[in-house]
């Protein structure tokens, strides 16, 4: 089964996944339409900033067992059996934030959603774009990501690709240029900038 897989070394910090996620979870489903909606849709993927100002796309891992689900006393958080996706029942959610306290990754937010009870603040998190998947589309964050930081694929295939990359990097005598020399140069510059001794 395919899953969204994060390749943090490829995140360029453009935050386009956040825009696409918010738009995909709007009533209209489009960015331009979403901007005029109330409540405004919000992203469920969150790009953080690392020690050297690099980006990191932080999204729900749909853990199993899921700490958020275990912490949810009203039983609003449940797992979709067929996809393994951890979902929130907005009607049952009591906005107690226990799930956010339990979540090791900090990917749960609280706000009203257009398809929940009107004006009720509820826990909101990644739903793996199940609605899009039902239409044969890949999750919105993956579709928009052009640097390959987010892929939608079978985990064993991604793991095999990674294994091959590692294997090539240790091949005796092989020269492995960085996959993106320009990006490596920029990253080195940012690291150097951060390490300049303060005056």
């Amino acid at each position: 089964m395919k899953k969204v897989i994060v390749h943090p070394e490829r995140c360029v910090g453009c935050m386009q996944c956040m825009l696409a996620c918010a738009a995909a979870h709007s009533r209209s489903g489009t960015l331009l339409g979403a901007l005029g909606e109330a409540p405004l849709p919000r992203s469920r993927i969150h790009v953080g900033v690392g020690a050297f100002d690099e980006g990191f796309p932080n999204r729900c891992r749909h853990c199993d067992p899921a700490p958020c689900m275990l912490a949810c006393l009203p039983g609003a958080i449940y797992r979709d059996a067929s996809s393994g996706t951890v979902l929130v029942d907005a009607d049952r959610c009591i906005n107690c934030a226990s799930c956010a306290m339990a979540c090791p990754y900090g990917v749960i937010r609280y706000h009203a959603v257009w398809d929940g009870p009107p004006e009720k603040i509820v826990a909101v998190k990644c739903d793996n774009c199940l609605a899009r998947q039902a239409q044969g589309l890949v999750p919105a964050c993956v579709e928009i990501c052009k640097s390959g930081a987010l892929t939608f694929e079978a985990p064993d295939r991604a793991a095999r690709r990674r294994t091959d990359e590692v294997a090539r990097s240790v091949s005796s005598g092989a020269i492995c240029p960085p996959p993106a020399p320009g990006f490596a140069l920029l990253a080195a510059h940012k690291r150097a900038r951060a390490e300049v001794p303060a005056g």
Binding site: V12, L185, H189, A192, P197, A198
Partner: protein, 626 residues
């Protein structure tokens, strides 16, 4: 405490005012920079393109996603086009500033500018002669009219070569002609850059970049040079004069007026109005001891250079100066004025005044200045500032000002040398001065405020490199106390001896950012005196904290003129290895100079000194290993 602000700025006034701003809940440029992180990698790499509406497009730096925009442009073309447009914007900004001055010169000639006059008729004659204007039997005003007209021709398309490009050494001009980058018309080169970078025009990344050099040269030897020369003609050619810098120049018991922006056209009339006896009397009537005018950024530098008007701060200080609560009025013209300033001022009694028909800002009152009404407008708004003194609440001026010397035009430097650049050349030949460095450019929250400038300049002068600086860099070193005779104690023995004998500081304030052309003129004079090209001289440039498009144009015209230039922050080019290689290596083969990028000022000093020593060696002078 100030502890967590120390990483943002090395300046004491900055740290203390950041704490004040935090208490007052003022959002600053550092807060907004933090909120923007991480910044978009495509844009940082220069591989995002918004030129046309088939896009927007971006190229995946990892090679698996899209490698071309919808039109077919690859990373090389996209990076080159984006950089070309940055140069065009920077050249346009400087050159439009120059045009506004030429229009004032024309208005003076037509008797339509009562607040202005010809302050330096000798310079008017010298520049007019360069334009081939016959002087005999003409009044200064007549000459001014003809010069304004001739300069306007430089902006158009009737020239094959810009007049003031004739100031470059003959070898350099020949090189520009050979490469096809001799600037022809100031507006023409910017306009052509916009044309070339339209979809489906110039898709040779090398030819776009070459035109970028020509576009930048149309700024350096065109628009900016006209701006500086006409400013000198209208307001006086700078001569060394004492001044002061940092927020401590604000006065508790006086009406404090700040001018911020770039063009002296407005600020010079404000200075006149601040000396108006009637307004001074009004100030005393309102309980103030006087009217204190201070500058920010380059319009401040213009007044500092010509009149010793004190300098409150540079780019990253512009919000914090308002947070003192001691500013009755800030008057802005254009460029580098953060649109946040009106919001900051709303928390205090400070009245914010915009003055240019081409620059409006939220939260500012608009009082439009034109040559015919400028002095009257200036008196009106200075009156408003005086009347605002009564509204001042608590104020916080946490530091004492630092003394500095400003006003080093090329004329003044040559004057200090006894009438020719000879003594400076002798000092360089003898090795007492290893060479000279131009340190220029802005502030950028990506670099600890002023650290890039100050650490670099300290390192250069300690190693006997004479420093000339402009813009926000010049303000940084003034605040750090490097523009005093006492600062010679920080200089190497040779520089100490030479500057000590001349009675000048080791770091010379060359003016505003258009005044970078003074560095070009001095470099050309040195090259001519030695019979070599600018690229043969033991000199280097640096922009350690640059942020603006103008700085891109400045960097490009320095390199195209033959000056090796080290940038602090990385420009948006890393997405194209070809462009990086051309700008950092390939250009040396074409124009005898290239760029380097080094965010660590101490390392940048090593690169510059290494370059200077290599040039000394090539000239047959004694050289050391760096």
């Amino acid at each position: 405490m100030t502890h967590h602000h120390k990483g943002k700025t090395i300046t004491q006034d900055g740290q203390l005012l950041l704490r004040k701003a935090e208490t007052d809940q003022i959002e600053t440029v550092w807060d907004r920079h933090q909120a923007q992180l991480p910044q978009c990698g495509y844009c940082e790499l220069g591989v995002s393109c918004r030129v046309c509406n088939m896009g927007p497009c971006r190229v995946d730096p990892f090679g698996e996603g899209p490698q071309k925009g919808v039109c077919g442009a690859d990373a090389d073309i996209i990076v080159a086009r984006n950089l070309g447009r940055m140069i065009a914007a920077g050249a346009a900004a400087h050159s439009d500033h120059g045009r506004d001055l030429v229009e004032v010169l024309a208005a003076v000639a037509e008797g339509r500018a009562p607040g202005y006059a010809i302050a330096d008729p000798a310079k008017l004659d010298r520049v007019a002669a360069e334009y081939g204007i016959a002087l005999e039997g003409k009044t200064a005003v007549q000459v001014a009219g003809e010069l304004a007209h001739a300069m306007q021709e430089d902006y158009g398309t009737r020239k094959k070569e810009l007049t003031l490009a004739g100031r470059a050494p003959a070898k350099r001009r020949e090189l520009w002609r050979r490469l096809g980058i001799m600037p022809r018309g100031i507006d023409r080169e910017t306009s052509e850059m916009m044309h070339r970078t339209h979809m489906g025009v110039d898709n040779g990344w090398q030819s776009v970049l070459l035109h970028g050099l020509r576009n930048a040269l149309s700024d350096g030897w065109g628009g900016s040079m006209i701006a500086t020369e006409v400013s000198d003609i209208l307001f006086g050619t700078p001569r060394p004069c004492p001044t002061q810098a940092n927020v401590g120049v604000l006065k508790k018991d006086q009406v404090n007026i700040i001018v911020h922006g770039h063009n002296p056209v407005v600020s010079e009339t404000i200075l006149q109005a601040c000396q108006d006896p009637e307004l001074l009397a009004l100030a005393r009537e309102r309980g103030a001891a006087g009217i204190n005018l201070a500058g920010l950024c380059c319009t401040g530098n213009e007044l500092l250079m010509r009149h010793g008007v004190p300098m409150a701060g540079n780019h990253l200080m512009t919000e914090l100066v308002i947070a003192t609560g001691a500013v009755e009025m800030m008057i802005v013209d254009y460029q580098c004025i953060m649109p946040s300033l009106g919001t900051v001022a709303a928390c205090y009694h400070t009245r914010m005044i915009s003055t240019s028909d081409k620059a409006r800002f939220p939260g500012m009152e608009h009082h439009e200045f034109h040559p015919p009404n400028a002095l009257e407008k200036a008196r009106q708004i200075v009156r408003l500032a005086v009347e605002n003194f009564a509204s001042r609440g608590e104020s916080y001026i946490p530091v004492e000002p630092v003394p500095a010397v400003g006003g080093f035009s090329v004329e003044a430097v040559v004057g200090a040398l006894g009438g020719s650049p000879g003594p400076l050349i002798e000092a360089i030949k003898a090795g007492r001065i290893r060479g000279a460095a131009g340190v220029v450019g802005c502030n950028n929250p990506k670099i600890q405020h002023d650290q890039g400038h100050v650490a670099l300049v300290r390192e250069l002068i300690a190693n006997d490199v004479l420093v000339v600086d402009t813009g926000c860099a010049a303000v940084a070193t003034a605040k750090a106390g490097l523009k005093t005779i006492e600062a010679l104690a920080l200089a190497g023995p040779g520089l100490q001896e030479v500057c000590g004998a001349l009675g000048i500081p080791p770091v010379l304030h060359f003016g505003s950012c258009v005044d970078n052309v003074r560095i070009l003129v001095l470099a050309a004079a040195l090259a001519d005196a030695l019979g070599v090209d600018i690229s043969d001289l033991p000199i280097a440039g640096a922009a350690p904290e640059w942020y603006s498009e103008k700085a891109v144009s400045i960097g490009a015209y320095f390199v195209a003129s033959g000056v090796y230039t080290v940038l602090g922050p990385m420009p948006p080019i890393a997405g194209s290895a070809n462009v990086v290689k051309l700008l950092t290596e390939g250009l040396t083969g074409a124009v005898g100079a290239a760029f380097a990028v080094e965010p660590d000022p101490n390392q940048a000093a090593v690169l510059m000194r290494r370059h200077i020593e290599a040039k000394r060696r090539a000239l047959g002078l004694e050289a050391i290993r760096v």
